[in-house]
């Protein structure tokens, strides 16, 4: 006689496991929710930088694991003594969009010069504008960044500016014609997370272009948090590249970015008060409550009518407790 497994056992047996993430679509790009930059759609809201990886092969595998469609590169003078050095572009998987940055620029003129070299190298007008004259913080120079943005827009570039988390500056960059704004979460490479949360929320509220949080996101939950407050995308490099297992971390950031985006799209209820809970389970039907308080019983026929009245009130009381 074969044993019939209980419902519970059936549900948890290997052959009938719940479908899990694979069947929810959670690991796929969100349907019909593309990131649009300068009229071009992208399926992934995670942009990844190529710096700091221990080896080109690890970088390539991490880029693939991240699902990123836009990856940044820098431009540097060729060391003519080492002309045959490995070319990073050989390890960027085909189909990914290159986003050359202007790292190293300390003023608008240098940034424009680098942008033009980047355009010659990649054939696209996409540029990650960054002007960072302060070597200690690599904080973006807001004035030179705005100047550079104006020059680049006039020159036909699609400008994605790394900028301070400042809603006024973000507005000015947008008015200058930038395709996105990319405010920092914390200093470049610091892994300190979303230290600028309030300002990012203000930028998101006022922006008409995608807000991409760039710099400082240190753990996957930082990316999720940025997405939950309405960022259109995040750009991550150091946290992935310097992780003990960059490929796994790339996947973690990919999932966190999707999770945060779904959370944002789902509409969040917002926090309650710190002083009290709001029960998730019913506040009625507790075990051990006196039956006569809620229901008339045969053993108390004399109080049946009073009991009925009490019964009618009991639910109201319970409701009051929930509401209170």
């Amino acid at each position: 006689m074969s044993q019939v497994p209980s419902d519970r056992a059936r549900r948890t047996s290997e052959s009938s496991r719940p479908p899990g993430l694979a069947a929810t679509g959670a690991v796929e790009p969100v349907e019909s929710d593309e990131l649009v930059i300068a009229a071009r759609p992208y399926g992934s809201r995670l942009l990844v930088g190529t710096g700091k990886f221990a080896a080109h092969e690890v970088m390539r595998d991490s880029l693939l694991a991240s699902g990123a469609e836009i990856v940044t590169v820098a431009l540097r003078r060729v060391d003519l003594a080492r002309a045959g050095a490995g070319d990073v572009l050989d390890f960027v998987p085909p189909g990914m969009t290159l986003l050359p940055n202007t790292s190293g620029a300390t003023d608008a003129a240098q940034a424009l010069r680098l942008a033009r070299l980047g355009r010659a190298a990649t054939g696209t007008g996409l540029v990650k504008l960054e002007v960072t004259p302060d070597p200690r913080t690599l904080a973006p120079d807001p004035i030179e960044t705005l100047r550079a943005a104006e020059l680049m827009v006039a020159d036909g570039f699609t400008v994605l500016p790394y900028c301070s988390a400042d809603p006024v500056l973000a507005r000015r960059l947008e008015e200058a014609g930038c395709a996105t704004v990319m405010p920092l979460g914390s200093w470049i490479g610091s892994n300190r997370g979303l230290r600028t949360r309030d300002a990012i929320e203000a930028i998101v509220a006022g922006a008409g272009v995608p807000v991409i949080v760039d710099a400082g996101l240190g753990v996957p939950s930082d990316a999720a948090e940025a997405m939950e407050i309405g960022a259109a995308a995040v750009l991550v490099n150091t946290a992935i590249a310097v992780a003990a297992d960059p490929v796994r971390m790339a996947r973690a950031f990919a999932l966190a970015t999707i999770a945060g985006r779904l959370g944002y799209l789902a509409g969040q209820a917002g926090p309650g008060t710190a002083a009290a809970a709001s029960a998730s389970s019913p506040l009625t039907g507790f075990l051990g409550t006196p039956v006569q308080a809620a229901f008339p019983t045969a053993s108390a026929p004399a109080t049946a009518s009073a009991g009925s009245a009490a019964c009618g009130n009991a639910d109201a009381d319970a409701d009051d407790r929930v509401a209170g």
Partner: protein, 87 residues
């Protein structure tokens, strides 16, 4: 009698004979090339794969198609750059 430096003209090198040469600056270093040398030839001499680098000549970034038609002239300043890993 005080030694004086000789007049400049007295020690000027005789002009080179043979093919005309051009002095160019490549990534900050002076380099003598044949006047009119095609830029792609210089890149090949330097061991650089075409398409793996971009060149800025006298401050102007060259697209690959522009680069192929450039011939070097005396006084040219070249910056040869490439994409590298970066955020």
């Amino acid at each position: 009698m005080v030694d004086r430096p000789p007049p400049a003209s007295a020690s000027a090198p005789t002009p080179p004979t043979g093919p005309a040469q051009a002095q160019v600056v490549v990534n900050g270093a002076l380099r003598v090339v044949a006047d009119g040398q095609p830029l792609p030839d210089l890149l090949a001499e330097l061991g650089l794969r075409p398409g793996s680098v971009v060149v800025e000549r006298n401050g102007v970034a060259l697209t690959p198609s522009e680069l192929s038609g450039i011939r070097l002239a005396d006084g040219d300043t070249l910056e040869i750059v490439r994409a590298v890993a970066g955020g």
